[in-house]
Amino acid sequence: MAGELARREARAGLFFVLPVLALFALVNTTPVVISFVYSLTDFTLGSKAKFVGLANYQSLISDSEFLKALIVTLKMGLGLALPGSLLAFLIALAISKGSKTGIFSTILFIPVIYPSVVSAFIWGATLKGDGLINRYLGLESDWLNSVSTALPSLILVLLWTNIGFYIVIVLTGLRGVAPSLYEAASLDGANEWKKLRWITFPLMKPVILFILIIATSDALQIFTQPYLLTGGGPVESTKVLAGLIYEVLFERLEIARASSIAVSLALISASIAVLQYLLVRSRR
């Protein structure tokens, strides 16, 4: 009897799960596996693929194009995370101190949900040689076309896009600080600055680390803004990993090489996710 019930339950469970998971396997799990298989071959479009083992990965280690894109990607992640978390912290603090500040966090969040293509248009028009910023500053620098300013400009655009998200994360963290801590500190005679310095800052450390991790994993997948604003240039100074994969795939049709870069990206991404998981768990 109990066996029959259990069987019935299992059947019902599979009825709800299996069709979805089948679709899931088709568009997600299987492609992940195939990506890895491709990366072990010398598959290019129009030729017969042959198994080459880890040769693609071996050549990636000394592939200056790949290494450069990796460095640009990490720079972008750090460039987003460091000013991003500091700025988000300041703004979130201001929001949490004031009353009726919901409107600010709502407006600051709009770029997060904005179509990235449109953000790219807006900033393209703002940053171009005769764009708004130069007109205001009376300059003629071509922000997106000079090696020294292209990457910082892109980071600025992404910061504008993501800051609302970082703020929300810090706000959640700030709300998690028990009010009794501040009350106890007040009783001990601490002023506002001391409370900030000795209660808020230490408790915010993991939140900042969290933003660092999110920004890095964001940077790993950023495609639209560099693709539309700089095309990876000038002199590849803004070519991120996602852009490199697209180029190797669609312009050079080197499927195996693109796959090996993609798998490397996934591995970095996965290690970041593990880090994130450990961090979240240690906070509990």
């Binding site: 259990a6 339950e9 299992a10 019902a12 469970g13 009825f15 709800f16 799960v17 979805v20 998971l21 679709l23 899931f24 568009v27 997600n28 799990t29 492609p31 992940v32 990506s35 491709y38 300041l90 703004i91 201001a94 101190k97 004031g98 500040t101 600010f104 709502t106 407006i107 969040f109 709009i110 770029p111 997060v112 949900i113 904005y114 179509p115 990235s116 293509v117 449109v118 248009f121 807006i122 028009a125 703002t126 764009g131 708004l132 504008w160 609302g164 929300v168 994360i169 009783l187 994993s217 997948q221 495609f223 539309l228 996602a242 994969i245 697209y246 993609a262 990206l265 996934a266 991404s269």
Partner: protein, 292 residues
């Protein structure tokens, strides 16, 4: 002793906070917030304004000048030079269909994972967790070649299929339903409800809230998506708004009026969804820590 100290402290606290600190700090605080929010909002407002201005006036330095030269010419030009309407319809169709399938599939799998015991459940759920952290780059190459092989390049179906299941959606629904008392479902089953009726009559009404949130987040994700539609849509008639606009900008680089008119079409639905569901959407982001 202690009592007196406590009293005097709290008195101290009440008076200065009300008189001095509040005023100066709060005002500075608001100025800072208005400044930052302004930096965020001005580019957006400028682009909305630009959609209605003749191209010559778009780069006018006085952002708040309104000299009455409003025009719908940019929209007319847009509709004349590129099939904006087709892009818009493609975007709406793809986003709505994807969202609906995401809702059904996430709820179904989330329900199965949360309320039933069966062999291999953990292994299957592991697939969902792996997908949750898998960047799109890790699947896009085989996905594209597979889509091509299946003859789905340049079809709505080809664009929709990969976005129609959401690891995040399944995860979210499972988390929510884990807190549902099993008794509720058992009682309905004992009363003779079929599994499907339980799903339809109990689970769906129960999960209305999270379903609405998932719908909003999914819609935004698909609506704003660029890379996958860029790969699959290869003819003008199949372009979504982001793809169509990005190629429009490439061909008519100088005409920002048209570009921003089209951009407005792409923003309005996203903004509407955001304004209606802003609390849930922001909450969802803060909890998940995951972007699309």
């Amino acid at each position: 002793m202690t009592k007196i100290e406590l009293h005097s402290k709290s008195d101290h606290r009440d008076i200065p906070i009300k008189r001095k600190k509040v005023n100066i700090y709060k005002i500075l605080n608001y100025f800072f917030l208005i400044f930052i929010t302004g930096l965020t909002a001005v580019p957006l407002l400028w682009s909305w304004k630009a959609a209605f201005l003749p191209s010559a006036e778009i780069f006018d330095l006085n952002l708040f000048a309104f000299n009455g030269s409003w025009t719908l010419q940019n929209f007319r030009d847009g509709f004349a030079t590129a099939p904006f309407m087709t892009f818009f319809i493609n975007s709406v169709l793809i986003s709505l269909v994807s969202t609906i399938i995401i809702l059904i599939s996430s709820l179904s799998a989330g329900y199965g994972f949360s309320q039933f015991r069966f062999k291999g459940k953990n292994a299957l759920f592991a697939l969902v967790i792996i997908a949750l952290v898998m960047p799109f780059q890790a699947i896009m190459i085989p996905l594209f070649l597979g889509t091509a092989k299946a003859g789905l390049i340049n079809t709505h179906m080809g664009i929709i299929l990969p976005s129609a299941v959401s690891a995040f959606g399944i995860f979210m629904m499972r988390q929510f339903l884990l807190n549902t008392p099993r008794d509720l479902i058992d009682a309905a089953l004992i009363d003779g409800c079929s599994q499907f009726a339980v799903f339809w009559r109990i689970i769906i009404p129960l999960t209305k809230g999270p379903l609405a949130t998932l719908a909003a987040v999914s819609f935004l994700g698909v609506w704003n998506n660029y890379l996958w539609p860029l790969m699959v849509a290869q003819e003008v008639g199949m372009y979504t708004l982001p793809v169509g606009l990005s190629l429009l900008q490439g061909t008519y680089a100088t005409n920002y009026g048209t570009v921003f008119a089209g951009s407005l079409l792409a923003c309005v639905p996203a903004l509407l969804v955001f304004l209606i569901m802003r609390r849930q959407i922001i909450n969802n982001y803060s909890i998940s820590g995951l972007t699309q």
